[in-house]
Amino acid sequence: MENKVNEKIFKPKIVGFLCNWCSYTGADLAGTSRMKYDESIRVVRVMCSGRVDPTFVLKAFKEGADGVLICGCHPRDCHYHEGNYKCLRRYHLLKKYIIQMGIEPDRLRLEWISASEGAEFAKLVNEFTQKIAELGPSKVKQNIETFS
């Protein structure tokens, strides 16, 4: 009961970048299979996780996202051979950058979701939402708007 009260106070806003070939199809499977998962996620479909420019992630935080989730094909499964590897490399460097800028590293997550992993996607969204709920609202937007 207490959890429900807390949820009413803070509903995390999560931006998800899902690759067209595996992860978006996986999320679609979760939907067509009538699996329930948290509505905190706003999905942006991209052709490949390698298309996720670090600018997109920073912009999502700037616009008020409390968490950003990037999903791509499993290693060796990328439709474009190595887009997911490029995403993985950028993810690690971007994480180092956001830590320096004072953003909690757990607000950014990269996971591999295949087209058949609807249940895994639903579980991931719930888990990530729970994590962000524990962290509380992101201060990035307010921080950018405040100028002394």
């Binding site: 920073l58 990035v140 921080n143």
Partner: protein, 321 residues
């Protein structure tokens, strides 16, 4: 004879290098004074702020404002010069993107004061004195500018007509821009970056480049034996050329030092550091998370490397408080 232009140059939070780049016109100074009256230039002339305040609005034809906005004096002069000037140019990296002073956005006012006035090795301050914006003495009240928490770019404070990037801008570019205004040439649309090109440094760089830029680790310039010919990135040294606008003549690389990004991002790029970060990360020659992490450990300071001149201009603008 055409009436002379009124020209002003002002420094906000700056090192003085931009004013020196104006002095670097050398004998072309005669060309400049032939076409313009220098009405306000604190580094060279003793015009007082109150003299500027008495000028009619729009009296100055061209103001080159260099330096970031760090305190109340910078802000006051930015607003004053905006009112008095027909064309206001953000001159140099600090006015354009926050520049080196913008790195202070990784800290807040308290942290900076604590370091500077209490902790620094050369400071002896037993009474723990801190600067006060207002201080009463028997002769009256003394006033110094108020130090702000954030460093801001000029455009975050006032409306800016043009940006002339560089740390400092190349003097030749300034002369070109000045003569274009004198000759009444068609000026670019408001908000344009002038005195620079639309392509990146790499497009102009003469070093040998191949398609293979994969590296296992990143090195500092002193860790390599530079052959003077091969692309710095291919030698494992981070060079900001891929995400930096050209126009300087690739001066740093010609001098065998990697580009540091002072000319800012090329057109359409919102966040210069994010583009650099993206380009550098994909160079890592591994698909294994642990190996990738090891390579990233050799990028010692991502903010200071990719956002050296642009933290206030970037999407995040400052470290979270």
């Amino acid at each position: 004879m055409k009436p002379k232009l009124n020209l002003a140059v002002y420094w906000g939070a700056a090192c003085g290098g931009c004013c020196v780049s104006v002095l670097d016109v050398h004998e072309k100074l005669f060309t400049i004074v032939e076409h313009a009256n220098l009405v306000f230039w604190p580094i060279a002339l003793d015009t007082k702020y109150k003299d500027v305040e008495q000028m009619p609005d729009g009296f100055i034809d061209l103001t080159l404002y260099n330096g970031a906005v760090r305190n109340s004096e910078n802000e006051h002069l930015a607003k004053l010069l905006r009112k008095k000037s027909k064309i206001l140019v953000a001159y140099g990296s600090c006015a354009h993107m926050g520049g080196i002073p913008g790195l202070a956005n990784l800290f807040n006012k308290e942290e900076i004061f604590k370091r500077v006035y209490f902790e620094s090795e050369s400071t002896i301050n037993p009474d723990q004195v801190l600067p006060q914006p207002h201080y009463k003495v028997s002769e009256g009240e003394l006033e110094i500018p108020e130090f702000y928490n954030d460093v801001r770019t000029l455009a975050q404070v006032v409306d800016v007509d043009y940006y002339l990037p560089g740390c400092p801008p190349q003097t030749e570019r300034l002369v070109e821009v000045f003569l274009a205004i004198v000759n009444g040439e068609q000026l670019p649309p408001k908000g344009s970056v002038i005195g620079a090109k639309d392509k990146t440094q790499c497009d102009e760089c003469k070093r040998k480049k191949s398609d293979n830029k994969l590296v296992k680790e990143f090195k500092r310039p002193w860790q390599i034996k530079d052959d003077g010919e091969t692309c710095f990135l291919e030698q494992g040294v981070i060079c900001c050329g891929p995400a930096t606008r050209s126009g300087c003549g690739v001066r740093c690389v010609e001098g065998n030092a990697p580009c540091r990004g002072c000319y800012g991002p090329p057109p359409e790029v919102a966040d210069p550091g994010a583009k650099m970060l993206s380009a550098i990360a994909t160079m890592i020659d591994s698909n294994d998370p642990n190996e990738i992490q090891k390579a990233i450990d050799t990028v010692v300071d991502p903010v200071g490397t990719f956002y050296r001149y642009s933290i206030p201009f970037s999407i995040l603008r400052r470290k979270l408080l």
